[in-house]
């Protein structure tokens, strides 16, 4: 049985409360640590909420190169494994020189989309 609120719900309210009610009252010498705590809570919150969506974005980015359709049905562990397998394949091809002379534009688009998906979780502000 799932408890209510679940981990995601708890993290969300903890992060919001921390930022609104705790951070403003933190002494200057603890402010840096407090900001790091807020940052960590928010990353964890985004990861719990958005990991599958990021996985689908990465799959979509890799399909630019491999033409595999971004299987919307995949989720959780299966999705993660598919993304990892395609990323591994891409690493091998890059190292073998497959993109040295052609295909760099598509590769760059794909790499940017992969990083954007991960940035959406770790630091959306840097998406600029």
């Amino acid at each position: 049985m799932r408890a209510n609120p679940d981990a995601r719900g708890l993290l969300e309210i903890a992060a919001t409360t921390f930022r609104a009610d705790v951070l403003p009252h933190v002494a200057p010498e603890a402010r840096f640590a407090a900001l790091m705590v807020a940052n960590a809570l928010e990353i964890a919150e985004r990861e719990l909420k958005g990991l599958d969506a990021a996985g689908h974005s990465m799959l979509g980015a890799l399909s630019l190169l491999y033409g595999e359709d971004a299987d919307d049905a995949l989720s959780g562990e299966d999705l993660r494994k598919r993304v990892e397998a395609l990323q591994h394949r891409l690493c091998i091809e890059i190292a073998a020189g497959d993109f040295d002379n052609e295909g760099q534009d598509v590769l760059m688009d794909s790499l940017e989309a992969i990083v954007e998906a991960r940035l959406g979780i770790s630091n959306p502000k840097a998406l600029g």
């Binding site: 010498e29 840096f32 591994h88 891409l90 890059i94 990083v115 954007e116 991960r118």
Partner: protein, 365 residues
């Protein structure tokens, strides 16, 4: 870096009890003094890798007689792959100071574990603001500061592997680009087969590697955040723990990388001014021209180097070697660093693959 950060845990008892007595006796012997008293003024920031303690020395007798505001810099919790030991750092600092670089004056270095347990050295304490966000807060650009930083780097780069007293640094690399690439491959290990952005960065460095040119003493962490500024003027260049012999353009690429522009990514020289200001200062003192293609090469290397360090910092936390939220969050900076690298590769797209290396060679030749 000389800012007290809350992230620093309470100082380990580096100077408690017997340690202080041993340190004072050692200092007195080294300084030819009849007595030295050490007063602790608190821990300074920048301690992710090293431990920086503000101390005041009261020296009775000998050439150093008097009161000195100093920093005691000791080996921190865990050395990372890129860092050199404290004694090597001391040697570098001495060479830089002797060459007229605005580095804190190094006074005494110690590699006898019987004194404090760790290698450490003592240097004069410089004043000023260091934090990158503070230094780049200024509404107006700071071209004179950038030019002065360029001049300082130029002075440092006059130091060659033949300079006396640098034996501790080991052999200078024949080909810095190839050595760096091999080092990155070791550092990234398996990640280069899992993360295609890292794989592409490494491949790009391999294909575009310039032929060897000049090899000089490089700071290797010369960037905004690692120098102090007071009333708009440079007071000291800090954090020499990554120093070593390399291609001089490596330091310029590192300085200009987006990662160190803080509030002002539009100001390409360290978030403070244009590249032209920084380059002009460099050319005034270094005795060589800036090679923009080579700088671009080393800027790509800068992102990979910073990525490798971030990954390693994250692992220091995750492995349990050193539990720390700051290290954990540094590990999560990887995508941001990778995005900066991709932006850089896009920006120099016109000279990607083949053209960088040949262009650089022509200019060097």
């Amino acid at each position: 870096m000389h800012v007290v950060k809350a992230s620093d845990q309470s100082p380990p008892s580096l100077l408690s009890g017997d340690n202080r007595v041993r340190l004072e006796q050692w200092l007195a012997a080294q300084a030819d003094a009849s007595r030295v008293t050490v007063t602790e003024d608190g821990r300074l920031g920048g301690g992710a890798i090293s431990l920086n303690l503000a101390v005041t020395l009261d020296v009775d007798g000998g050439p150093l007689t008097g009161r000195h505001a100093c920093v005691l810099r000791a080996e921190g919790g865990g050395r990372i792959s890129a860092s050199i030991g404290k004694l090597r750092e001391f040697v570098v600092l001495r060479a830089a100071f002797a060459a007229g670089v605005m580095a804190p004056e190094p006074l005494l270095g110690c590699d006898d574990p019987a004194v404090l347990g760790h290698d450490f050295y003592i240097m004069r304490r410089a004043e000023g603001l260091g934090a990158g966000h503070a230094v780049t807060r200024s509404e107006v650009a700071q071209p004179e500061l950038a030019r002065e930083l360029g001049r300082q780097l130029g002075l440092l780069h006059r130091i060659t592997p033949e300079t006396e007293g640098l034996d501790r640094l080991g052999e200078a690399p024949d080909c810095p680009a190839q050595e760096t690439l091999a080092q990155f491959r070791r550092w990234f290990g398996e990640l280069a087969r899992r993360d295609p952005v890292i794989a592409w960065g490494l491949r790009w460095l391999e294909v575009n590697a310039p032929l060897p040119g000049a090899v000089v003493l490089c700071h290797r962490d010369f960037r905004t955040g690692n120098y102090l500024v007071k009333d708009g003027a440079l007071t000291a260049i800090l954090d020499w723990e990554f120093s070593g012999f390399s291609d001089p353009m490596e330091d310029l690429g590192w300085f200009c990388a987006r990662s160190w522009r803080f509030r002002r990514p539009d100001r390409e020289a360290g978030g403070i001014a244009d590249r032209a200001d920084f380059y002009a200062g460099y050319e005034e003192t270094s005795g060589r021209r800036v090679d923009p293609a080579r700088v671009a090469y080393w800027e790509t290397a800068a992102y990979l180097r910073w990525a490798a360090i971030a990954v390693e910092q994250g692992l220091r936390h995750s492995s349990g070697a050193e539990r720390s939220l700051e290290l954990a969050l540094t590990g999560r900076m990887l995508p941001e660093i990778e995005m900066d690298m991709l932006r850089h590769l896009r920006a120099i797209g016109g000279m990607a693959v083949d053209s960088v290396a040949s262009g650089a060679v022509e200019k060097v030749a």
